[in-house]
């Protein structure tokens, strides 16, 4: 795993020292809120509905056990004993007190973590495939590139005041688990005709109020050209991006208004200009970084314990849903669900974080990942250790066998925490999960992604949910709009609005009708919800959602 060099260390420590003084000056009155707000946001400190919130970056979603343990410690010492993992591979602490924040940042710095650039119009935490370095389908581990981008973008003088926030996602696999097509820049590793690895570069994806799928601006970018090319995109955006209108400021709008061909031309022109200025220093750095991401020393041992354990149905069910094929046959990737039925998606208590840290250290080559789907991953577990890992997870309430199923819901904090929310999202997620658990239909339904946002900003990725739910305020009451057919993978699509929204107490029954309609109409269990939707279109689902109207039409 990558370790800070002296420069990183000094930079983060200096920032903590600066911010400590800024907090002190705010508290003693020498800074006004107008002066302080941009400073606190630069350090990931928001003010939400009921309290401050500190957003901490987990670069490309990778953590070691010491870091996870420290997050547990922070939750316990300065918050209410838990943390919330988000779709952007961050963790948010919901209850810090202003005067404690410097101590929290200092505790983070002790384990090479920080909250820098988790807010503001800069390059945000670079996100990556959570199975990176372990996935069987991977061309290359994308994390060294993500780390290179992190170092380059952190405090980059030219890119601290972009027209708007800027999000980069990267994957090393053809199966896109990083939602690269819904990011400002999406990097998908591909091979060229000669078998060399490089990137397909997508620009202009994004969710929020004008959701768009990214467009390819370069079919194949040699890995050595990554930094100058990304820099070229950013500098074109920095020039053209609209600063006059916040809602038109993202690069997706720039691309839309300028046209892909013109953007491509400008980027290539700028790239040709700056490419010669990169003399290979970045490549030397990349080599060092690569060494830090060398695969762990995989063990060679029999895997009988795992095979034997499968006679127990609960273990078997968990293995079916929560394990993914590892590149090493003796190993498995374990996804730990933070979606126990009825619990808050993405939340882990400090005690659970400690258990996860401990499992990573004992059985996982000291690695953990946070997925954009708000789960935790142990990327390298030898199969012989799986029964023990399962038992420990079960004891900690972390063995829910639902990854990829209807209760594995992404939900943003919504109006339970977020100051921008127009409705709640967490209780809707809790109620859907509980309802389908009661119906005992979850495993029959099979793969189905429900994603919920509490406002148009779409932090919960609802546009790319097979079923998306958007919470709105309609004349002073919570109202939920459904979108269908969204997809966040390599075949990304923005979902289609199904029709008028539903009141808070109607939304769960509406989802139930929808899912029952799918079960009714599917060709067989192997036809997923998304596949059925693609075959059948909106009509039968609409009829299930709005039965009264159907009856009226018939009358």
């Amino acid at each position: 795993m990558y370790s800070y060099n002296d420069f990183d260390e000094a930079f983060v420590r200096a920032r903590v020292a600066q911010f400590s003084q800024q907090v002190a000056r705010r508290i003693d009155g020498s800074l006004t809120e107008d002066e302080f707000k941009p400073l606190r946001l630069m350090n990931g400190l928001y003010l939400q509905l009921h309290a401050y919130m500190l957003r901490v970056a987990i670069p490309y979603g990778t953590l070691n056990s010491r870091q996870m343990r420290q997050l547990a410690h922070i939750g316990r010492t300065w918050d209410k004993g838990y943390g919330h993992f988000t779709t952007r591979q961050n963790i948010q602490f919901n209850w810090p007190v202003l005067s404690d924040v410097p101590a929290i940042l200092s505790a983070l710095a002790d384990v090479e973590m920080h909250a820098i650039q988790t807010s503001g119009n800069c390059v945000r935490n670079v996100t990556a495939d959570h199975f990176a370095g372990a996935a069987a389908d991977e061309i290359e581990d994308p994390r060294p590139y993500a780390e290179l981008l992190r170092q380059w973008s952190t405090d980059h003088p030219e890119f601290q005041f972009l027209p708007r926030k800027f999000k980069i996602a990267i994957t090393g696999s053809p199966n896109d688990r990083a939602v690269t097509k819904a990011h400002d820049i999406g990097l998908r590793m591909v091979r060229n005709g000669r078998g060399e690895p490089g990137f397909e570069v997508l620009v202009g994806g994004g969710l929020g109020r004008t959701p768009m799928i990214g467009q390819i601006v370069r079919e194949f970018l040699p890995v050595a050209d990554l930094l100058p090319y990304v820099e070229a995109i950013l500098s074109v955006y920095n020039m053209l991006g609209r600063r006059d209108n916040k809602y038109k400021a993202r690069i997706k709008i720039t691309l839309h208004e300028t046209g892909r061909d013109e953007i491509r031309r400008l980027v290539e022109e700028r790239f040709a200009e700056i490419r010669p200025e990169f003399h290979g220093h970045d490549q030397a750095l990349l080599d060092d970084i690569r060494a830090a991401f060398a695969p762990p020393a995989f063990r060679n041992a029999p895997v009988d314990a795992h095979t034997a354990a499968q006679v127990a149905p609960a273990y078997r069910a968990w293995a079916d849903t929560n394990l993914t094929r590892h590149r090493n046959d003796q190993y498995a990737i374990v996804t730990v669900s933070l979606k126990a039925h009825g619990d808050t998606p993405g939340d882990a208590t400090s005690d659970q974080m400690d258990v996860l840290a401990d499992l990573a250290r004992r059985f996982g080559h000291d690695e953990l990942r946070i997925s954009h789907e708000q789960n935790v991953i142990l990327p390298h577990v030898h199969k012989s250790d799986l029964p023990e890992v399962y038992a420990a997870l079960k004891a900690a309430g972390l063995a829910t066998a639902n990854v990829g199923l209807i209760s594995d819901i992404i939900a943003c904090p919504g109006m339970d925490y977020c100051a921008l929310a127009t409705a709640r999202s967490i209780p809707v997620a809790q109620d859907i999960a509980t309802r389908f658990d009661d119906l005992k239909l979850e495993h029959d339904i099979g793969p189905l992604k429900i994603k919920i946002s509490g406002c148009i900003n779409a932090c919960g990725h609802h546009h790319v949910g097979h079923i998306g739910i958007l919470g709105l305020d309609r004349a002073g009451v919570e109202n939920y709009q459904i979108t269908l057919g969204g997809d966040g993978t390599e075949t990304a699509v923005i979902g289609e609005r199904a029709g008028p929204g539903f009141a808070y107490d109607e939304i769960v029954p509406a989802i139930e009708r929808l899912v029952l309609a799918y079960l009714d109409q599917r060709e067989g269990p192997e036809e997923t919800f998304l596949a059925a939707y693609r075959r059948l279109g909106l009509a039968p689902f609409k009829a299930a959602l709005y039965p009264a109207e159907g009856a009226q039409d018939a009358a």
């Binding site: 705010r26 508290i27 009155g29 006004t32 809120e33 003010l47 939400q48 509905l49 009921h50 309290a51 401050y52 316990r76 010492t77 300065w78 918050d79 209410k80 004993g81 209850w95 810090p96 007190v97 202003l98 005067s99 404690d100 808050t344 109006m415 339970d416 925490y417 929310a421 709640r424 967490i426 209780p427 809790q430 305020d473 002073g476 009451v477 919570e478």
Partner: protein
């Protein structure tokens, strides 16, 4: 005829802790919505908002929120403000259990 003014309270977040607070008739901040000053007049509301905002080392982000008279004092009207009087719905945390932000003591 101009539209009838709907009564307001001044609300904000406490600077140090982040807690939701309400402005009283005595220029104090309370955590209890029912103790807030219910403002029935538009011009007065603007003045009270200025008074409240002047306490910039005590609170953050003061604004006027709709309220109405209830049996025990002013009550919130909009669901967002109802949530702000209590805390989140997923955990028994915040004011609904008499807690402030920060670690549990």
């Amino acid at each position: 005829m101009s539209r009838k003014f709907s009564p307001k309270v001044v609300t904000a977040n406490d600077l140090l802790v982040g807690d939701v607070v309400y402005f009283t008739a005595a220029d104090q901040w309370t955590r209890n919505h029912t103790e807030a000053e219910l403002i029935e007049d538009e011009a007065h509301a603007q003045i009270r908002l200025l008074d409240a905002s002047a306490q910039r080392n005590v609170i953050v982000g003061a604004y006027l929120a709709d309220a109405r008279a209830g049996d025990h004092g002013p009550e919130p009207v909009h669901f967002r403000e109802v949530f702000r009087t209590r805390g989140p719905s997923n955990y028994a945390m915040g004011k609904q259990v008499g807690e402030r932000p920060g670690p549990r003591s």
